[in-house]
Symmetry: C2
Subunit: 472 residues, 2 copies
């Protein structure tokens, strides 16, 4: 692009979004660095449109000038999916001004929202109608629902309510040609042609830009009961899950696994947090049960399941929270694991999924492979066991500097991801691919699957302007 063309393009952006909403030069900086601060890209401009029609007009302009478009929500992604590359060719298209809850339909249990709504605001708008939007994850105060949809975000409520994909009934999106597709249907059944909705969901902005969505809401449970159960092994954690699911059915809404390594890490860095058990155990499960009847009903049901597990020798000890404060304190242990890890120094992270039945075998096998390769290596393993999703993070052996250890990232990734694939798992459970795991995707996907994905990309974005360098 010549300088004159560039000026013409920027003027075009200003004409569409208003001059105040087109940032250039140093003003772009807050939009260019990823959440963990590992990479800073460059952009021709950052444009903040005010509505979906402006998004469509901007994409048409970008198509005309062949300018790459990097859609951006709350910029909380963990795989470099929402920041531009270093070339400076792209614009960042920030959706943050599209932040209206358009409507709530309590009788249909749906809500229609702009893509730039912050997840926490979506949850609050549902709660204001006595309803639940169950998507819940650490970044909920900053991430946007559009980003959650683009990455098919997971979190702690998937066991009962599914991923973001399952929480969306309808979608509005701008195609790579800049056409506005209105698929904002609030229907629980609709078999009229190809499933465009689920194609845009999880595509990380590489096929188009999500501008709005119809979300599924749920009746608000009357009480949530939390328990922490001490266990001898990951196999016991699997057995307890099966037992709790059979006893509690859909009232079991959360099931998290944490190893003793995780609890010690949290205790070391956050000594004010409670230590629930006088003794130490190899593993712990955090259970959440939601009752639509009463707190008493939920507590009795969860206690019965845990007593059965203690009697069967599956569980070794347990605490059931008797107040909201106690429940929060138990969750706080789980939520402080990533913070404690960050405080302890850099580590090599993996967001993996496995069949639930293979978790224990995977952990045993992969721990051993890592110990063989790097004696003394520390595995910090926790996650959403109910969904088969582990955050299997690797820290250096004592005495090895964290930065030196990071140089072995490729070697560690190969051991872990080869093992994941051997156990029938996924190298990205809930974070997506972005630019970070693009090489890993190419390595592990079959040629048939890669070919199908490339055919879809070429069909829907023939100019290749939508978030290039992400996923494929």
């Amino acid at each position: 692009m010549t300088e004159a063309q560039d000026l013409g393009f920027i003027d075009g952006c200003r004409a569409i979004a208003g001059a105040a909403h087109v940032l250039t030069g140093d003003d772009c900086a807050p939009f260019l660095t990823d959440w963990r601060g590992r990479f800073t890209g460059s952009a021709r401009a950052v444009v903040l449109p005010g509505d979906a029609a402006q998004v469509a007009a901007l994409v048409r302009l970008c198509a005309r000038y062949r300018v790459p478009v990097v859609p951006q929500g709350g910029r909380t992604g963990l795989v470099l999916g929402s920041v531009p590359d270093a070339s400076g060719d792209a614009i960042v298209l920030s959706l943050r001004r599209l932040n209206r809850v358009r409507s709530v339909d309590p009788r249909n249990r749906t809500m229609t929202v702009d893509a730039g709504c912050v997840l926490h605001d979506v949850q609050a708008a549902a709660a204001a109608h006595g309803l639940l939007f169950p998507l819940s994850l650490a970044a909920e105060g900053s991430c946007t629902i559009g980003g959650n949809l683009a990455t098919n975000a997971g979190g702690t409520g998937v066991l009962r309510y599914g991923n973001t994909r399952e929480l969306c009934l309808g979608l509005e999106a701008v195609t790579a040609q800049g056409a506005l597709w209105d698929g904002l249907r609030g229907l629980r059944k609709d078999n009229t042609g190809y499933d465009l909705r689920d194609l845009y969901i999880g595509a990380e902005g590489t096929l188009g830009v999500i501008t709005g969505a119809v979300l599924k809401l749920f009746p608000q449970p009357k009480a949530a009961i939390t328990a922490l159960v001490a266990l001898g092994s990951p196999a016991d954690a699997q057995a307890l899950l099966a037992l709790a699911e059979a006893a509690c059915g859909p009232t079991l809404t959360g099931y998290e696994l944490m190893s003793d390594v995780c609890l010690r890490l949290v205790a070391g860095h956050f000594p004010a947090l409670p230590r629930p058990f006088p003794a130490r155990y190899p593993q712990y499960a955090l259970l959440e049960l939601s009752s639509h009847e009463s707190e008493r009903h939920g507590t009795a049901l969860l206690e019965r399941a845990i007593e059965a597990a203690l009697e069967a020798g599956v569980a070794r000890d347990a605490v059931v929270a008797t107040s909201i404060a106690q429940s929060r304190a138990l969750w706080a242990i789980r939520e402080h694991i990533p913070l404690a890890q960050a405080a302890a120094g850099k580590n090599i992270k993996h967001d993996i999924a496995l069949p639930v039945s293979r978790i224990a075998d995977f952990i045993a096998a992969t721990d051993a492979l890592l110990e063989d390769a790097i004696p003394g290596v520390q595995v910090v393993c926790f996650g959403h066991l109910g969904d088969g999703n582990l955050h299997y993070n690797i820290a250096p052996p004592a005495g090895i500097a964290h930065d030196d250890f990071l140089l072995r990232q490729d070697e560690v990734n190969r051991i872990v991801h080869d093992s994941v694939v051997a156990f029938g798992g996924s190298i990205s459970a809930e974070h997506g691919i972005g630019a970070l795991k693009r090489g890993e995707l190419a390595r592990y996907k079959s040629p048939v699957e890669l070919g199908l994905m490339r055919a879809l990309k070429a069909a829907l974005d023939p100019l290749g302007i939508m978030n290039p360098g992400k996923i494929l």
Copy 2:
């Protein structure tokens, strides 16, 4: 194709599937007529491959000879999706020999099956492990899981468990080029690229052939409780649904609506079935609650919800089944509506979905439009109200012959479907498009959405050999 080419093609089919599994001439007849007997097509041959590799080889052969492929499961579809057109160009590719349950993983709550497994056999295989596969519909003794997936079948369990789409974790499919895609992953989280699974699901065989699937299983509830509630209006049915959902949460697993017209029709044609109430009421709701605790727990919970509805004036009368036989008898009333309609003569059927909140207004408005156009017309309206899915069927006024009435099908469809779209609904909730509703799809979908669908079809099936004339 010359005669010699045709012989070469048929020989090729025999070489792949075995001569005994390639039918020609009159032997094809049982595969050519649709379930309701409204249309009989013609085929070059019916081929019954024995495994997915043979399916792939057959599709490659068809691609080479440019022979259209019509995938067929149990042939129970209602929209002419699985029978060939009259040209005789296509082969029918019957999946019925692919009927193995490949494996069950109870701890992962998944089952891997061939596409040709009959739904009832899938349910039974899950039950043999104490687990539930919740897809349930009238044709379950004949339909195949591959057909359920290809049409994203709905049924009576959607309120709690979702459509077939939500019950499938992984897929195996043969592309239009005859490549075998192995996406048989049993994972509850997997964000590694585009959602190919959901693209093949619901595509009615127009993008490829589904040959296998990993299905989600659920803990088996300990008891299912059924109740029939008499109501004053569709608006009361909506109010009762909201009340029951708030009180029962996810234990409410079924919610069906039937009008008094439906009950009188059933009573007239099946006088041996019970009449649950001494008086008549305008509408009835059939509720099913599933308890993971006990029959006593489930009954008490459902009775509390119904008592609250009676006190609030939302419900007028109610019976809660006290035995499995009573429960079956209540369901039998619901299940006999389509049979009673068939016995009464031909009618004009609509399988529609609406936002649950708009059902009552839709029924009132559309009933009035039809009465204006055709005085005395009979609306036989029932369906899965919990999912917003109505079977809104129209029978002739008294004294008008059914065959004469059918001549007004286009006029009736226009009134009903225009109204559906005006109320934000779908012209096909759970049956799909097939060849039958292709014109309606083209009429009601936006140019943007049709353009996206055509781009996907051209990208994945550039030769246009996969089930041509269906959907698009």
